[in-house]
Amino acid sequence: MSRAAAAGLLAVLLVLPWAGAGEYPLALLYSTFMYATLAVAWNIIGGFAGYLSFGHAAFFGLGGYATGFLLVHAGLSPFLTAPVGGVVAAVFAALAGYPCLRLRGPYFAVVTMILGLAVRAVVLNLPWTGAAEGLWMTLPPWEPLAARRAFYYAMLAIALVTAWTGHAVRHGKMGVGLEAIREDEDAAQSIGVPAVRLKMSALTISAGLTGLAGGIYAYDRSYIHPDFMFDLHLSVLAVLMALLGGRRSWAGPILGAVVVRLVDEVLTVRVGTEVARIIFGLGLALVIVLLPEGLLPHLMRRRRAPRPPAAVPAAVVRS
């Protein structure tokens, strides 16, 4: 997407709430921003570094519970404390992630999945955040449309921060290091890549951004419960969106998020949550098999004019 087009899109998104958009489109876009955030954030550790986390819901839910706790016990608005949610998630990721990152491949995926389930089990029993009854985060008596606008802008801001971070990581030194780790971690270390440090950074950043989104989402939801704040489905969704859109680039996951959100919207309205989830499950299975690179690389390849055959001769040896 060209810079001009991107700038134009951003301008439209910024103006939309004042240009007469109603509650429904604002809510739809708000949730799309959230999904995009989740996907781009996940991709920093999952796509760039190749460490597929199946427990990102843990970070999301922790962000939400952090803002929830602060609202209920200190009266602070999540619009202010969402960054705290991000920090809580990031700190947790650093502590729990350090031992997890010592595992590779499927073991890492399994242990993060367990981590997600474990966090849910623990929070379900914690008294200070409502345990199994859940937590009420009542909104002040705003007008519905005004509330929608506030959440819209909050989530747009978070999405922009996440997009910027994703771009910065991907195109900077860190991105090269993470990709080297993904391709061959031992070879990467042999050229000086501090694998543990980089993975930890990637995971912490990823978790922080995810927690940030969770912090705002909790307020919008107004009632939070471990069953959906730490839902495994959410973790799977993060993986699906990034895989679908394309793991190699920072923007691919955004495409995946948009597609998933739209399909989700259409499906849920027509066939109900459970069938929608069935389709998601099957969709994930199909995507990973048929589109290992994701949609974005596919689309980019079609757009470019056909190239002349590669200029590299078959044998590249010179004395």
Partner: protein, 246 residues
């Protein structure tokens, strides 16, 4: 000219298998040293110990006067030891340039990606891959991938370069080119080289000093001529008729 690398009484076992038995040798600065021996004699394990992927059970490894035992592999790489692998391990999903740029960024410590890429392209030219700059790794032949790995190792700015069977699988022309390149690395870049090799012609022609491992122990060391003449080496590795047919 002192010792760039000093290996002292290094022993290593894996479970019940003793792979290295009190191995000692040194690699002097500015030389090319060959490490030879039958398969299973512990050569690659030695490399893995030097580069920090295994810890020795006993013994010391000193690089430029400083112990490297216990350091993480990436720290050792940054300290100035680089290696290539027996079975090439390029970053398959990255371009040739980025493969090498990664080493510039993390081995040498350069901050900016575009600067690292420029330097990477220089290294690709140095090893003779100017036609493959920015190309996907999949377009390279095996010889090309070996050169890529060499470029990547050099880009990390090492003072000691470990080459693991770099000449395997190369045809005579490619081999000649590789030998010339290794000499240039020693002479122009002043990088000390320790190489593991099975191609004897190369070892004897290229190395200043040869260390022979057998069953995890050093059974001989010396100049190529001395090694070729050593009866024990001839018996266990070179073959009695070695030298006659060459």
């Amino acid at each position: 000219m002192g010792a760039m690398l000093r290996v002292q009484s290094v022993s290593k076992r894996f479970g019940g298998l003793v792979v290295l038995r009190s191995v000692s040798f040194r690699v002097d600065e500015g030389t090319i040293v060959g490490l030879i021996g039958p398969n299973g004699s512990g050569k690659t394990t030695m490399f893995n110990i030097i580069t920090g992927f295994h810890r020795p059970d006993a013994g010391a490894v000193e690089f430029a006067g400083r112990s490297v035992v216990g350091l993480a592999p990436f720290e050792i790489a940054r300290a100035g030891i680089a290696r290539t692998f027996q079975l090439v391990r390029p970053f398959a999903g990255l371009t040739t340039t980025d493969n090498v740029a990664a080493a510039v960024l993390y081995g040498r410590g350069v901050r900016h990606v575009h600067e690292a890429r420029a330097e990477a392209r220089h290294w690709l030219r140095y090893v003779g891959l100017e036609d493959a700059i920015d190309a996907p790794v999949g377009t390279l032949t095996l010889a090309g991938k070996k050169r890529l790995e060499l470029a990547r190792a050099l880009a990390a700015g090492p003072r000691l370069l470990l080459l693991d069977e770099v000449f395997a699988g190369l045809n005579p022309a490619e081999s000649e080119g590789a030998v010339a390149l290794v000499r240039r690395i020693r002479d122009e870049l002043r990088v000390t080289v320790l190489l593991v090799e099975h191609v004897m012609r190369v070892v004897m022609g290229l190395c200043d000093h040869v260390v022979v491992l057998g069953s995890g122990q050093v059974i001989a060391q010396g100049s190529p001529a001395a090694i070729q003449a050593d009866p024990q080496v001839r018996r266990i590795y070179l073959g009695e008729g070695y030298g006659a047919a060459c």
